[in-house]
Symmetry: C2
Subunit: 160 residues, 2 copies
DNA sequence: CTTGAAAAATTTAAGAA
DNA sequence: TTCTTAAATTTTTCAAG
């Protein structure tokens, strides 16, 4: 783990929300010269502190779609079945997120697909993956109240 | 809703994962001249098709933290209580995502905070918001199997 | 949409705090 | 080290076709 100083955190905070800011503007915002600002950004990139830059696309303007969140519970908690399920997930592009969790569920999935009938197909593939020893509950996203974008790094640093 | 042609979709697909690509390189990838490529990107931005550019920060390299997913069920499904809850969500930076869903739960929340004790504080604030007429179930994220980044636009267009 | 020139930004290198 | 300055390179931007 690299040590990050206050300036690095400022850079990260800005780039989280304005990833295409010019280096000159960024340098000014953090009170550095452009070259030393660039040096820090490059270091954050090569250290993996910044792992990627994403454009956020307003899907509604591209095409109709549905977003669902599915809770998944495996009947048998063997390593093999988990591995098999995770492997399957990675072959389905509509499954855009998968996390393993503690508690009554094993996974949360986020699935984005054109309509409910295509959702049902995906659901069937997921359920059949481990010989139907899997319970999936689906929740259609009706509204995105707060979207996952930037994280307030200061709320993490100072003990929330 | 703006009409998007094949080239726009290619641009969106690339920018989703490589938001800081230079316009020259982007132009080459989509077989356009730099100036007309830039024109398209600017149009996508001003139409809101591209809503933001985010740097993805590897939180583990910044500081210790926990990510939780919480399911929320309101006892009373009145508009006022929903509004109150949504308003509260927006005052808590550690709640980085909130969606309204159909099914047995009303909301899914994603919460990122320094540790479980700060999580408990946030939980208490959420529960007390509507006179404790709210049920929250917490799931600690143990592993991020597949992270939410780019969406395969072709899987949406062609009927999944 | 393309070309091509002007303006701006990025990147590199030399050297100071 | 990390920073700044300054020059060279590359990119962005805009006008004209």
């Amino acid at each position: 783990m690299t040590k990050l100083d206050r300036t690095d955190l400022k850079i990260l905070q800005i780039l989280q929300d304005e990833a295409r800011i010019t280096n000159q503007d960024l340098a000014e915002r953090v009170s550095l010269s452009p070259s030393s600002c660039l040096q820090r950004v490059r270091r954050l990139e090569s250290n993996g502190v910044i792992s990627a830059y994403h454009a956020k696309v307003n899907l509604a303007s591209v095409c109709r779609h549905v977003m669902c969140i599915a809770t998944v519970t495996m009947k048998n908690h063997t390593r093999e079945e988990f591995r098999a399920f995770e492997a399957l997930i990675n072959t389905i592009p509509e499954v855009v997120e998968c996390v393993t969790v503690s508690g009554e569920f094993d996974f949360f999935l986020r699935i984005i697909c054109p309509d409910m009938s295509s959702y049902l197909e995906i659901n069937e593939r997921l359920v059949s993956s481990v010989n139907y020893l899997v319970t999936i509950n689906t929740h259609v996203v009706m509204n995105e109240n707060k979207k996952f974008g930037a994280i307030d790094l200061s709320s993490l640093d100072e003990g929330g």
